[in-house]
């Protein structure tokens, strides 16, 4: 029975490894970091994902505590970095800012998320 169980597990793992597939894009990390405090305004927000993104359906915004956009509306996937999403920011006064993103990975799986970062308290 032990051999049967080991064979099942090994077979499943090999099958998974052999398949060249895509999947849901998880946020891997961000700059400014999720939930971080930075001493001064940054010119851009960059998000790194675990999968390549579909440009037409991937976007992010940055808003202040009053809900007003503080980004320049130019969310884009940088050339040669298909798993990265960037947007430029206006100069940010001290405060808390909300990053909201939604992306579609290249195999059509959508994911979304939000996080905050603080300026002026790091």
């Amino acid at each position: 029975m032990r051999r049967f169980i080991v064979a099942l597990i090994a077979g499943g793992a090999v099958t998974s490894a052999a398949l060249a597939a895509q999947a849901h894009a998880f946020l891997d990390h961000a700059r400014p970091a999720v939930g971080s405090s930075v001493p001064a305004s940054r010119p851009i927000v960059t998000l790194w994902f675990t999968q390549d993104l579909e440009p037409a359906f991937s976007d992010l915004t940055v808003t202040n505590e009053a809900g007003q956009r503080v980004d320049l509306g130019n969310a884009h996937i940088p050339q040669g970095s298909p798993a990265e999403l960037q947007i430029a920011l206006k100069p940010l006064p001290p405060g808390t800012y909300l990053v909201s993103w939604h992306v579609v990975s290249v195999d059509t799986h959508p994911t979304e998320g939000t996080f905050t970062f603080d300026v002026g308290s790091g």
Binding site: A23, H24, H29, V34, G35, A75, H76, T111, E112
Partner: protein
């Protein structure tokens, strides 16, 4: 974003339409990912397969202990409906007697996704579980000679909508099942078969949610994909035998959720003397078919043609 032409619009529309159904694939509500739990039923329709789940039960009240190898397939029929089918191969070691082996009872579930609320990270599912009579070794292994019909409500709720002043509580999620089991025979070989109230919960703490949505504390793969959890499940008879003969288990463990599969392991602790004694354990390798085969069998059957 860059402007795009008519061809791109058509392609984009196709992607958007397919993305809408993919959004309901395994365990997502807003930014919350719910893993497939081991003991309790999931509150979402999915394209997934447990291959295998290996369970070593704690010794029962009579000292008998079993090892089971189980396979469960979950499949979406449409974006909001699905089914589950599963069976297990079992080795039962009665106390002081030779071991017996064979198939357990076939079980199925018909599912309807009642709601998904993204902003509040909430899921609800209605299901009808059926354990089929005479599909396992009845006399030797104790597989049922009667069918049990078990309507159930499965739910999930992430705490991500808590105030941001409570950051370290926001990665918590709770899933659960509430249902009844109706046997189609009241007695089998002189033993009464009660109608039962079945309830179970999973309490999860998602490190991936902490990292993506609350605070980056520097965890990287594989540690940022861990979900420690405690599952509990109980069955209480509501007729024919005393209600105090509730049985149940408490199962602390951990799940690692990757892009294409997850691995889970839990200890099995009997909740009382009616359930058993000592300890057991369960291991599960679980594949996400919608991520492995996003353009074929990982899609709802209604979208295959």
């Amino acid at each position: 974003m860059k402007p795009f032409g008519a061809g791109a619009v058509f392609a984009a529309a196709a992607i958007l339409l397919s993305a809408n159904s993919a959004a309901l694939a395994h365990g997502w509500a807003g930014q919350r990912f719910f893993p497939a739990t081991i003991l309790t039923d999931d509150p979402f329709v999915a394209d997934e397969i447990s291959l295998p789940q290996v369970t070593v039960t704690p010794p029962g009240p009579d000292g008998a202990q079993s090892t089971a190898v189980e396979i469960d397939l979950s499949k979406r029929i449409t974006p909001n409906t699905g089914f589950v089918i599963g069976d297990q191969w079992q080795r039962l070691q009665p106390s002081g007697l030779p071991a017996v082996t064979g198939l357990g009872a076939l079980h199925t579930e018909a599912q309807y996704q009642l709601f998904i609320n993204g902003p509040h990270e909430a899921l609800g599912l209605l299901g009808l579980n059926v354990i089929w009579a005479h599909t396992g070794r009845v006399q030797a292994l104790g597989a049922p000679d009667f069918t049990t019909l078990a309507p159930t409500f499965n739910f999930g709720k992430g705490l991500g909508d808590l105030p941001r002043s409570l950051p370290y509580l926001r990665p918590i999620a709770i899933t659960g099942n509430l249902g009844f089991g109706f046997p189609t025979k009241t007695e089998s070989a002189g033993v009464l078969n009660p109608t039962t109230f079945n309830y179970g919960f999973a309490f999860e703490y998602s490190f991936s949610y902490l990292e993506c949505c609350v605070k980056d504390i520097g965890l990287r793969a594989p540690f940022n994909q861990l979900i420690p959890l405690v599952e509990v499940a109980f069955t209480t008879p509501i007729n024919r035998i005393p209600a105090n003969q509730t049985i149940g288990t408490i199962q602390p463990g951990i799940i690692w959720a990757g892009q294409y599969f997850q691995i889970g392991a839990e200890a099995i602790i009997p909740a009382n003397r009616f359930t058993g004694q000592g300890y057991g354990g369960v291991f599960q390798l679980h594949f996400y078919l919608d991520d492995l085969f996003p353009r074929s069998i990982g899609r709802p059957i209604s979208e295959w043609w």
